[in-house]
């Protein structure tokens, strides 16, 4: 699936929730289900400290595609990390750099990406793109 298709799929999933509680319950579920973070990568250089919560992000390249592994100590943040990974992991660097992540806004979670929340998510999105940029540079 392309990033665009995945984003549409996520928006579709979230459209079934009328109550904010259900939406957050789902985020918590996604957070709990996120593939465990490999502790060998739990390094300071992979830590995006958001003051309120922490985010860890690791990325690697395999066969022209970028893969991400992420984690957070706060479960709601971790749920959003899971969504980001679902949207971008396994895509080419070009696709990652070319696509806007519009789904967060559409599913009503934009407030969590505001710099004032200082939860590490803003830094994480930036870092995901930076990884893609670095891998792209290495390719040529």
């Amino acid at each position: 699936m392309t990033i665009q298709e995945i984003q549409e799929e996520i928006v579709e999933e979230f459209s079934s929730f009328d109550e904010w509680m259900d939406k957050y319950a789902y985020l918590i579920e996604l957070g709990n289900d996120l593939e465990p973070f490999d502790d060998t990568y739990r390094l300071d250089q992979n830590l995006l400290d958001g003051c309120q919560s922490k985010v860890w992000l690791h990325a690697w390249m395999d066969d022209g595609k970028v893969y991400y592994m992420g984690d957070s100590d706060a479960i709601i943040v971790k749920g959003i990390v899971a969504l980001m990974i679902r949207a971008l992991s396994g895509q080419t660097p070009e696709a990652i750099l070319d696509n806007e992540l519009s789904f967060i806004d559409k599913i009503g979670l934009k407030e969590h990406l505001s710099p004032t929340r200082s939860n590490g998510l803003v830094a994480m999105i930036k870092q995901m793109r930076l990884f893609a940029l670095a891998f792209k540079a290495k390719q040529v």
Binding site: W20, Y24, A25, Q52, A74, I75, I76, V77
Partner: protein, 406 residues
């Protein structure tokens, strides 16, 4: 006298706003309190009717503005029972007042090898300025340790005192634990060591009666915005004998008597420490806030808040997995807590969606969090306009959310 809380609530328009379509429940009062309409109106009135710079104009408005500003100083003096109004210095907040102290007191009295004592429970504002000063002066910062319940180890404090101790600077009330420190005892011990004491009363003056003469405290600071006043206002009280000797902090207009390039003579107190144009309307607004608090009566406020604190503590303790951080005998209306393994950010986010405003994180007191080996807490801090019904909403909210986290 018991207070009419609904009447008090009526004076705070913001308490009647809705967030996410739900009535606001505001429990972040230790960060800043809301302002009653009379304070906001007073600030407005200053700008609308007597806006002018102070202490320097011959004209009518300047004179009126100066009178209003100096009247606010008088109000603060009476509020903390300072002997003289010129011992009241206006600053932009508690942080600025402590920085003033660290610089001016430090420059005047502290030499290499000297020591300043603070405590583990200080707000970063009462840590970092002293660290900076110690670095400049090659002085040493000593820290009073905590007990598990959030009280200071007074024996350890006594042991820290020596002829090297030049100042003790501690919080009256901890913003992260709610502990009310034994300030009279700290002052007595420090004074018998000939050491002056600065009290950070940022979390105290809005909750309990503070009388600087009764305490015989040497310096005391607080912020206007935490006592129902405007942001950008604060106070340093200092004993005249020290303030007269101390070097000025910032240089500029208003704080000088005469300036030439060879020599500048400083103005008298309090102007020596008030360089530049101050927050005139804000300070007058602070005077109004002090009237608001004084009319309610701090003893009445303290009694009501104590009742709220006891109610909230009991109700929160009904919650499964509740852990209250800070269980000192003498506590002010600040409750830090954790619920099971739930991350404060998660619980704070969910409560926010229910219209309940609490603070999450380390509350600018990281050494306290390190002491308890936790990354942060949730903190509900109460003010005189809070109610038991609001506490019930908080408890219901936590119970509702906790099930989601398993």
């Amino acid at each position: 006298m018991s207070l009419d809380i609904q009447h008090i609530r009526g004076q705070f328009p913001i308490l009647h706003t809705e967030v996410y379509g739900k009535p606001l429940v505001y429990f972040d009062n230790a960060a800043t309190t809301h302002k009653p309409a009379r304070v906001v109106n007073k600030v407005n009135e200053i700008y609308h009717t007597l806006n002018s710079n102070i202490h320097r104009g011959v004209h009518y408005l300047s004179n009126q503005a100066t009178l209003a500003y100096e009247e606010a100083r008088k109000k603060v003096q009476l509020f903390v029972n300072a002997p003289n109004s010129h011992e009241i210095i206006f600053t932009s907040g508690a942080t600025a007042a402590i920085n003033l102290m660290a610089t001016s007191f430090g420059d005047t009295y502290i030499k290499e090898g000297d020591e300043v004592i603070i405590s583990t429970m200080e707000h970063h504002s009462n840590i970092v300025p002293w660290q900076l000063m110690c670095k400049r002066k090659k002085a040493v910062l000593k820290v009073i340790p905590l007990f598990e319940n959030g009280e200071l180890d007074m024996q350890a404090f006594e042991n820290l005192l020596s002829e090297k101790t030049k100042l003790v600077s501690v919080a009256y009330v901890s913003n992260s634990l709610g502990t009310v420190n034994a300030i009279p005892e700290i002052i007595e011990k420090a004074h018998s060591n000939n050491t002056p004491v600065m009290v950070d009363a940022a979390q105290a003056v809005q909750h309990l009666n503070v009388d600087v003469q009764e305490l015989d405290v040497d310096f005391l600071v607080f912020s206007g915005h935490k006592i129902y006043g405007p942001t950008g206002t604060g106070v340093l009280y200092g004993k005249e004998k020290y303030l007269n000797e101390m070097e000025p902090w910032q240089g500029g207009g208003e704080m000088i008597k005469s300036v030439s390039f060879e020599e500048t003579t400083y103005n008298e107190l309090p102007f020596k420490f008030e360089a530049g144009t101050p927050n005139i309307a804000g300070v007058v607004g602070l005077g109004e806030a002090i009237d608001f608090v004084s009319e309610l009566g701090l003893d009445n406020i303290a009694a009501y808040e104590h009742e709220l604190l006891q109610y909230a503590t009991a109700r929160l303790n009904e919650i499964e997995g509740m852990r209250i951080i800070g269980t000192a005998n003498n506590k002010s209306s600040v409750i830090s807590f954790l619920v099971k393994e739930i991350h404060p950010f998660d619980l704070g986010t969910m409560l926010d969606k229910m219209g309940i405003a609490i603070r999450t994180g380390h509350h600018c007191a990281q050494p306290v969090m390190d002491f308890y080996k936790i990354p942060g807490t949730m903190r509900a801090s109460l003010a005189v306009y809070n109610t038991k019904e609001e506490i019930d909403k908080l408890v219901d909210g936590i119970n509702k959310v906790a099930v989601l986290f398993g």
